[in-house]
Symmetry: D2
Subunit: 289 residues, 4 copies
C-alpha cells in the first residue's frame, strides 16, 4: 500500500480501540429476515432447520475465534461473548465487528444447502452487527438474561399467534387483536384450552434459545491422573452427567476451570436456562479473564 | 426487546454517528485471501473469474444501496464511495459497516458457483471492512488515485514475478530476488525482452482495476424533449460514444448531471483511468452532495 | 511516568484524534453565569465590563494559539475557529479542549480585577467547552451566522425585557408575558414607542457580538516594495480604511491573503456583520487551509 | 439557540457518552509548569505553598462535585476518581472534562494570593486534562499505585538532584550525570552520607503526595443511636484514631461504609500510603458503586 504521493489519505483512518478490561458482546441480527423467512417458506412460529443452521454457524464462529467463550441465539440473531482480556485484532472495533459479521454471513450461506436441501437461496441474505462493551460479570449475566427473557416472551406470543392463525382460523389481524393485553398465564391457558398445547412441552430449542458454550474437557490421561491424586479428588457426584446437551435444559456441571488450565475445550450446543446461577456457577471460566 | 428488568443493558450500547457533511468510503478486504486463492487454484497473477465475481458483488451492493455512487476494486478488495449527504441508517458507523460487509460477503458466496462452476467452495471465505470519512473532493480524488496507483504497482510486480516463476523457471524466492530494487521501466523491459509481453496490452481489468460507477441516463422521453429544446441543445459530439464500457479504458462522457435531475441511473463497470481529471470532470454528480 | 509494574494502566488511555481536513470550532460557555452575573452585579441587559473582559480573554487565547484564526463572542460564550490544517497537539481532542478551556478560564480570573476593580470575585467562575468538527467553508459560515443571529435575537429580547422591568415598572414575570408571541418588528416598536430607544443606535458590541480576527498586516518594508512593483499594484481604493475596528460595524477590507504569505498578523476586535459575504470575502485566509 | 435556518449546524455536535459501569479518572496536569515554577520562584525540589494550593483546589473540586470520592496529587498534577455509577452531566465526556479542568484552573488562580501573598501571578497558568475509564477496582487500585510510585521515584530523584545542585555545588548537568544509573538505595545513601538527609524523615507530603478523600462521618445523633443499638455495636478499637490527617502517613480507619448510608461526609487531606491494602480496606465506599 506504499505509494507515497497519495498515501497521506491513510491519515484519515482513525484508531478505534475498544476499552481494555471489558467483556465484548458482538450481537449479529438478520437483516429483513421477516421477508427472508417468507420468501424461503420458513415454518411458523419456529423453523427447526433455520435454527439449526444458525447454531451451526455459531459453532463455526467459535471454532474460528477462540476468544469467543459463549454464544446465545434465538430466531435470526446471535450474541457472542468474547472474554474480557481478548486481544483479538488488538481490540480494533471495526476489524472485529466486520470480520465476525462477515464470517457469520459466509457460514450461513455456505451451510444453507445442508439445512435447506430443497430450497435454494433466492437471494443473498445479510446480517448487521454491533459490539457492546460490558465492564463486569453482573452486566454480562444480565445481558444474557435479557436475551433469554426476550426469547421466552417472543416465543410464547408467536406460538399462540400462529396457533390462532393456522389452527384457529383467525386472520393475522384478528390473532394480534386476540392477544392484545393478555398476560403470560392467559397465553398458556389459551394454548392449552383451545389447541391442547402444553407450552412447557414444546422443544427447549424454541423456548430457551440456543446456548453455545466452550466447555473444558479432560483428556484420558488427565482423567487417570486425577484418579491417582486423592488430594485433588472429588466425589463421583461431581462428575458430569451423561446428558446429551442438545436435548438438555438443565445446565451440565463440568469440572471447575481452575482445576486444569491446560485442558482442551469442546463447543457444545444446549438449550438450558442461563438466567439462574446454575449454568454460570458450573462454568467459572466463562466470566474469568 | 422490552423486558424491563434486564433491558438496562441496552444503556451500554453507545451511539456512533459518523460526522455529517463528509464522504464515506467503505473499504472491504478479503481475509486471508492468499490462502483462499491457493486453496481454490486461482490463476496467477490474475484470475479473471475471481475478478469478475468481485465486480458482480460490487454491482449488487450498488443496486441495493443507492447512496453508493462509485466503487473501485482490485485483487480481493473493493472501496465504496457513499455520497457525502447520505443518511443511510442515520449514518450509524457499526450499522453501515456491518451491513455492507455482510451483504458483500453474502453475494460473494452466493454467486461463487456462477464464476467457479467446477470449483466448489472448500470453506467459507470472509472479508473485513472499515469506514473512513473524507471531508472534501480533493481527498476523495486522492483516495481513489491511491488505490489505482496501488493496483498498477502491484500488478506490474506480480506480472513479472509470475512470468519469472511460471515461464522463466525461477523459484518464487529467486523471482523476488530478481525484482528487488528494479524500477517500473526495468520491469516493463524485463517483461518484453524475456517474455515478449507488452504490459500495456494486457487486459485493462488487470492494469486499471475495476471502476463501478452509477451513471445517469436519459429516458427516451427526455431525449425527445431535449431535441425540441434548442436553448439546451448540444452538438452531436457531446453524445456518449457507443463504447462498450467493460473493454474501454478511457472514461465515457455522459450527460452532465445538472441537466436532468430526475434521470435514471445505471451501474456500469469500467477499467479506465481515475487518477486524471477526465473521469471526474465527466461525472460531477459523483462528488456533488 | 515509567514504573513498569503499574504502568499498564496507561493502556486504558485511548487515542482520540480529530478527523484531519476539518475545521475545528471550540465553543466555550460560562457555567451558571446567570447566578454569577447576579452575584457580581452585572449591568442588565449587557455589562460592558464583562463583555470587554471576555474580548480580552479571547485575544489572549488567539495570541497563545496561533492556529485560532477567528473568534466570535456574545454574553458568556465564545467560539474559536481553528484552521482546518491545524496540527495543534496532534489534533488530540481532550488535549485541545481541556487546554483551551483551561487557559480561557485562567485568563478570565486573571484579568477580572482590571475590568471589575471594585468588585472582587466572590467565588471561582468556570466554563465548559466542546469541540465540533466542520468539514467545509459553507458549514463554518453557517456556524458563525448561527451564533450571530442568536446574538441578535437574544439581545433584542433582553433589551426590551429589561426596559420593561427597569423603566416600565413591570415584574420579570409581567415582562416575559408582555413579550410572549411578539415578533422582531413589534419589539423594535415597543422599544421606540415606550422607551424612546432606537435599537439600531445601541452599541454594536451588544447587537453584533464580538468578532476577534487575525488580520494580515504589511510591514513598512513590504509597503515600500509594493510601491515599486507596478505589476502587483492596486488602487488606493483597495487600502484599508482608517476605521477604528472596535466601533466599526462594517467589515474592514484588508489586503488579500494571497498577496503576502510572510505578512505579520494582528488580532483585532470588531463588532461587524459576519452573516453576509463582505467580511469573509475580504479575508480569504480565514477559510483557507 | 433556536434560529431555524442555521441551527442545522448543531447536527455536527456528536454525542460522546462515557461507557456506563466504569470508574472515571480525570487527571489534570499543569501546562508548562517547569517554566511557571521558575517564573514564580518555586522552592526546589518541593514548594510547600504550591503543593498546599493544589490540595486546596482539589478539596474545592470535591466540594463542588459530589461524585468525586478520591483525589491524588503530586507536583503539578491531580487525579480525581469519580464513582462508577456517576451520572454527572449524563456522563458526557467533553462536558465533564472541560468543566472539571476549568473549575480546577479557576480555583488555582483564585486562591493563588492566599498561598503566594508576596508573589503576584505574572501570567495566567493553565492545565490540561484527560478522562480515562477503568472497568474495575483492581485497575483503579493500580492506577493510584502508579501515581504514588511515580511520586516516590520523582521525589527521591529530585531531592538528591537539588541537594547536589544547591548544597553540593554541582551544576544541573553534573547533578544529572551523578545520578545516572543509580538505584534507589544509592540515592538514599548519597543523601545521608553527603547531606545528612534521612529521606524517610522528609515531610510525608513530599514523599507520598496528597490523598484527598471523602470520608463518611457520623452525626452526634447517630452516635447516640449507635450506643443504644447493641446488635450493631463495635468495639472502641474500631473508632477512628484522633490522628491529624495532614501529618499522618498511615491510613485512618473510618466506619465501614455499609454501616451508615445516610452519614455525612467530610473531605480530608492525607499523605498516607495508598499502594497497600490498608487504606482501601478501611474505605470500602470508595470502590463501591
Amino acid at each position: 500500500m506504499a505509494n507515497s504521493k497519495y498515501a497521506y489519505v491513510r491519515n484519515f483512518e482513525l484508531p478505534d480501540p475498544l476499552l481494555p478490561g471489558c467483556f465484548l458482546v458482538c450481537r449479529i441480527d438478520g437483516h429483513s429476515f421477516h421477508r427472508f423467512s417468507e420468501e424461503h417458506a420458513f415454518t411458523k412460529p419456529n423453523d427447526d432447520r433455520a435454527l439449526q443452521l444458525m447454531d451451526h454457524v455459531a459453532k463455526d464462529l467459535m471454532s474460528e475465534f477462540k476468544d469467543i467463550v459463549l454464544a446465545f441465539g434465538e430466531s435470526d440473531e446471535f450474541s457472542f461473548l468474547l472474554r474480557k482480556s481478548t486481544n483479538l485484532y488488538n481490540r480494533r472495533n471495526a476489524k472485529i465487528l466486520s470480520t465476525l459479521t462477515s464470517y457469520f454471513t459466509s457460514c450461513y450461506v455456505f451451510h444453507w444447502p445442508r439445512y435447506f436441501p430443497d430450497t435454494p437461496l433466492r437471494y443473498p441474505p445479510s446480517f448487521d452487527g454491533r459490539i457492546v462493551l460490558y465492564p463486569d460479570e453482573h452486566a454480562i449475566r444480565d445481558y444474557f438474561a435479557w436475551r433469554q427473557a426476550d426469547t421466552h416472551i417472543n416465543n410464547l406470543y408467536n406460538t399462540v399467534f400462529w396457533a390462532l392463525a393456522q389452527q384457529g382460523g383467525q386472520t393475522t389481524t384478528e390473532a394480534h387483536a386476540t392477544l392484545r393485553g393478555t398476560v403470560s398465564a392467559q397465553k398458556h391457558e389459551m394454548l392449552f384450552q383451545r389447541f391442547k398445547i402444553n407450552y412447557n412441552e414444546l422443544p427447549a430449542r424454541f423456548r430457551k434459545g440456543s446456548v453455545v458454550v466452550r466447555e473444558k474437557v479432560r483428556s484420558c490421561k488427565q482423567w487417570l491422573l486425577d484418579l491417582n491424586e486423592p488430594e485433588d479428588a472429588h466425589d463421583a457426584d461431581d462428575l458430569p452427567e451423561p446428558i446429551k446437551p442438545k436435548t438438555s435444559e438443565i445446565a451440565r456441571i463440568p469440572f471447575k476451570a481452575s482445576q486444569r488450565d491446560k485442558s482442551k475445550t469442546t463447543i457444545e450446543v444446549m438449550h438450558c436456562d442461563i438466567i439462574g446461577d446454575e449454568f454460570w456457577d458450573a462454568r467459572p471460566h466463562l466470566l474469568a479473564r
